[in-house]
C-alpha cells in the first residue's frame, strides 16, 4: 500500500484524491494518487464501485466526503464542464449526428475556439490516431476500434490534465481488442498527464497500467505494480484473476498453519500472519494415497467440478484444502476425475510462495 499523501504539498503535480460516495447502503471509499505520466488501473469485480469512482473524478457525481486535487487545484466544487478532465466512456458515446471530425472538435469548440480552429485541431488528433481518412464519417460508419480511437481523440483534444477511461476495451470483440489494446498502450504512454482507467479485465489492467489499484466492495484491497500484484495477491478475487491458489495462515518457520485446517510447508522461513500462494499447475493429483512420496504437502480432497482451461483440465477440489489443480486431459482421464471422486493432492514446497500478510 502506498502511503497517504503528505499534507502541506499543495503544489504537488498530478492527482491526489480520496473519493467517498454513499448511496443505497453502498459506501465507496477510495484513495488515489498519481503523478503526471502515470497510468493507474482501477481493477475490480462488477459492482465494486470503479465506475462510480470515475464519475466522481469527472464531476458527474458529487463527492460525499474526501478531497480531489489535480495539479494542486481543488476540484470538489468545480462543475464537470470546467474540470480539465477528459473521459472515454465505455460505449464511447460519440455524438451520432456529428462527423468524427466534429466529434473531436466539440471539446475545443466549447473551450472557445472558432469552428475553423477547432476543426484544425481535431484534424491533427485524427491524423495522430491514424483516422484522417475517416474524418467525415458518422460514428455509425466506424468500426469498434475506430470509434474507440475517435473517442480517445475527442477526450484528448481538450488537453485534459486527467484522462479517464471506463472499460476502454470492453465493447470490442476479441480480435480487435488485441490490436486496440496495443494502440491504446502507445497513446497512454505518450500522454503526459494522469490517466486512470477502470477495468474488470486483469490483462487489460496489466498491459495498460503502470500501477493497479484493486477495488472490492468500495474499498482498495491492494495496490502496486502489476507484476507485484500478480506474484503476491492479497485477496481471493485477485488470486482468481491472476490464477493462483491463495491461503492465509500463521507461519512458524517453514510451516504455515492455515486459518481453517491443515498446514502447508513452504521454503520461506517466516513467522506471524502470512499468505501462501501456488499455481494450479503445481498441484499433482493421485487416485490413491501416494506411498513413499516425499511431499509433505499432501491432502485428501474430493472433485467438486471439472472444466477445460485452455488445453488443460482444471479441477476444482474441496476437502481438507480447497484448491484448483491443472492437469492434462490424459491425466484427467486416467484419474477418472468426475464430480465426487476422491483424490489425493500434493504440492512441492518449492512451488509455493509465502509472504507476510
Amino acid at each position: 500500500m502506498t502511503d497517504a499523501p503528505a499534507p502541506g504539498e499543495p503544489d504537488r503535480q498530478g492527482l491526489d484524491a480520496r473519493l467517498v460516495v454513499e448511496r443505497h447502503g453502498f459506501r465507496l471509499d477510495v484513495a488515489l494518487t498519481a503523478a503526471p505520466g502515470d497510468v493507474v488501473a482501477l481493477l475490480g469485480p462488477n459492482g465494486a464501485g470503479k465506475t462510480t469512482a470515475l464519475r466522481v473524478l469527472a464531476g458527474l457525481e458529487p463527492l460525499a466526503e474526501g478531497h480531489l486535487r489535480l495539479d494542486g487545484a481543488p476540484l470538489e466544487r468545480v462543475p464537470p464542464e470546467s474540470r480539465p478532465v477528459g473521459v472515454v466512456f465505455q460505449d464511447y458515446l460519440l455524438f451520432p449526428h456529428l462527423s468524427a471530425l466534429d466529434n473531436v472538435a466539440f471539446g475545443p469548440r466549447c473551450q472557445g475556439m472558432t469552428r475553423a480552429e477547432a476543426r484544425a485541431r481535431a484534424a491533427v488528433w485524427l491524423e495522430r490516431m491514424g483516422l484522417a481518412d475517416h474524418a467525415a464519417a458518422r460514428p455509425r460508419r466506424l468500426s469498434g476500434g475506430q470509434a474507440q480511437r475517435v473517442a480517445l481523440a475527442r477526450a484528448l483534444a481538450t488537453r485534459p490534465r486527467l484522462l479517464l477511461l471506463d472499460e476502454p476495451l470492453a465493447a470490442l470483440d476479441a480480435r480487435t481488442r488485441l490490436e486496440v489494446r496495443a494502440q491504446l498502450r502507445r497513446h497512454l504512454a505518450e500522454f503526459e498527464a494522469v490517466a486512470v482507467l477502470v477495468t474488470h479485465d486483469p490483462l487489460d489492467a496489466m498491459v495498460l497500467a503502470d500501477r493497479l489499484v484493486v477495488v472490492e466492495h468500495g474499498r482498495v484491497v491492494q495496490e502496486g505494480a502489476p507484476a507485484e500484484i500478480a506474484r503476491r495477491p492479497r485477496t481471493d478475487y485477485i488470486a482468481r484473476l491472476v490464477g493462483l491458489n491463495l491461503y492465509r495462515g500463521e507461519a512458524e518457520g517453514h510451516t504455515v498453519r492455515l486459518d481453517g485446517g491443515p498446514s502447508i510447508t513452504t521454503t520461506e522461513e517466516l513467522s506471524g500472519p502470512v499468505f501462501v500462494a501456488f499455481p494450479p499447475a503445481a498441484v499433482t493429483l493421485f487416485r490413491d494415497r501416494p506411498t513413499g512420496a516425499s511431499a509433505r504437502n499432501l491432502w485428501r480432497c474430493e472433485v467438486a467440478g471439472v472444466e477445460t482451461h485452455g488445453d488443460q483440465i482444471r479441477a476444482d477440489l474441496t476437502g481438507e484444502l480447497p484448491l484448483a489443480a491443472d492437469l492434462t486431459t490424459v491425466a484427467a482421464a486416467e484419474l477418472g476425475l468426475h464430480p465426487g471422486a476422491p483424490v489425493w493432492a500434493t504440492v512441492k514446497a518449492t512451488q509455493t510462495h509465502a509472504y507476510p500478510a
Partner: protein, 279 residues
C-alpha cells in the same frame, strides 16, 4: 420390459395445410371491418357530394382565401409558440427532478382532455379585458387580446402545445442522457449540451410533435370561437368558416372541408415519409 420407443420415429408430424395463415375469428373481423367503414364512409361522402364543377369558383372566393390564409398563419404561429415554450417545458419534465413534477405533468396534459370551449372560456377569464391578467395588460399597456388574430394564435397554442410537450418529453426520456454527460465532460454547459447534442438527437421527435401540434391548431374550433370570436379576415379560421358556411351555403362548406381534408392528408403523408419510417 417393453422395448423403448424412440421419439420421432413412426409418428408423422401432422401438418396443417395453411401453415402460418391462421383463421381470423369472426367476432373480431366483423367489428373491425365495421369500424373501418365507419371511419372512411364520412370522408367518402365528402368526396361524393363535393361540388366538383363549382369547386374552382368556390375556392377562389376572397373569404375562403382569407380563412385559409389565416388558418395557416395562425396554426404556424401557434406551433412556433408551442416549440419555443413547449420544448423547454418538456426538457424540464424529462430531465429535472422537482417536487410536484407528476402534478405538473398532469396539468400540462389537462388541455388534451379539456373540452376546447372550456379552454376558450378559461382564456377569456385569464386574458380577457376584465380577466385576471388581461385587466393589467389593458390598463398598463393598452393591449386587448380577445377577438384579435393574436387571440386565435393563443387559443390554438393552448390546445396544441400539450401534444408537443408530451411528444417531446417521450422522445427525451427515450434519448440516452449520457450523451449530455459526455458533452459536459468536453466542456459544454448544460444548455450548450442541450442545444448542440440533445436537440439534434431528438429532432425527429420534436418535428413529429410540431406536426401534431400544427394539425391540432389547424382544426381548432371551440377555444378559438369562444376566445377570439368569428370575424372574417381577422379571427375566422377554416373550421369556423366551414361551420358558418354550413348554415347558408352547404356547397361552400363542402369545398372548404375538402381543402382541410387535403391538408390533413398532406400532413399524414409528410409524417409517414419523414418520421414514421426510417431515419
Amino acid at each position: 420390459m417393453t422395448p423403448r420407443d424412440e421419439p420421432g420415429t413412426g409418428t408423422t408430424t401432422r401438418r396443417i395445410g395453411t401453415a402460418g395463415r391462421r383463421g381470423v375469428p369472426l367476432p373480431l373481423l366483423l367489428p373491425g371491418v365495421l369500424a373501418l367503414a365507419f371511419l372512411l364512409l364520412p370522408l367518402l361522402a365528402l368526396l361524393v357530394r363535393a361540388p366538383w364543377r363549382s369547386l374552382p369558383h368556390q375556392l377562389t372566393s376572397t373569404e375562403v382565401w382569407q380563412a385559409l390564409q389565416l388558418s395557416l398563419v395562425s396554426a404556424t404561429a401557434a406551433t412556433a409558440v408551442s416549440l419555443v415554450l413547449g420544448v423547454p417545458l418538456a426538457w424540464l419534465l424529462a430531465r429535472t427532478d422537482f417536487r410536484g413534477r407528476a402534478l405538473v405533468r398532469a396539468l400540462v396534459t389537462l388541455p388534451l382532455v379539456l373540452p376546447p370551449v372550456v379552454g376558450g372560456v378559461a382564456l377569456l377569464l385569464a386574458l380577457g379585458r376584465n380577466g385576471v391578467v388581461g385587466k393589467w395588460l389593458d390598463s398598463w399597456f393598452g393591449i386587448t387580446l380577445p377577438f384579435t388574430t393574436t387571440a386565435v394564435v393563443l387559443a390554438e397554442a393552448f390546445v396544441a402545445m400539450p401534444f408537443l410537450v408530451i411528444s417531446v418529453e417521450g422522445t427525451l426520456r427515450a434519448a440516452d442522457p449520457r450523451f449530455e454527460e459526455a458533452a459536459t465532460t468536453l466542456g459544454a454547459s448544460r444548455f450548450t449540451a442541450f442545444r448542440r447534442v440533445t436537440l439534434p438527437l431528438i429532432a425527429p421527435g420534436v418535428a413529429a410533435g410540431a406536426v401534431l401540434a400544427w394539425a391540432r391548431a389547424l382544426g381548432e374550433f371551440g377555444a378559438t370561437i369562444t376566445f377570439a370570436g368569428n370575424f372574417p379576415g381577422r379571427t375566422q379560421t377554416m373550421p369556423l368558416a366551414v361551420y358558418l358556411a354550413l348554415q347558408n351555403d352547404p356547397e361552400a362548406a363542402i369545398s372548404l372541408s375538402l381543402v382541410l381534408l387535403a391538408v390533413s392528408i398532406a400532413v399524414l403523408a409528410g409524417l409517414r415519409d419523414r418520421w414514421l419510417t426510417g431515419v
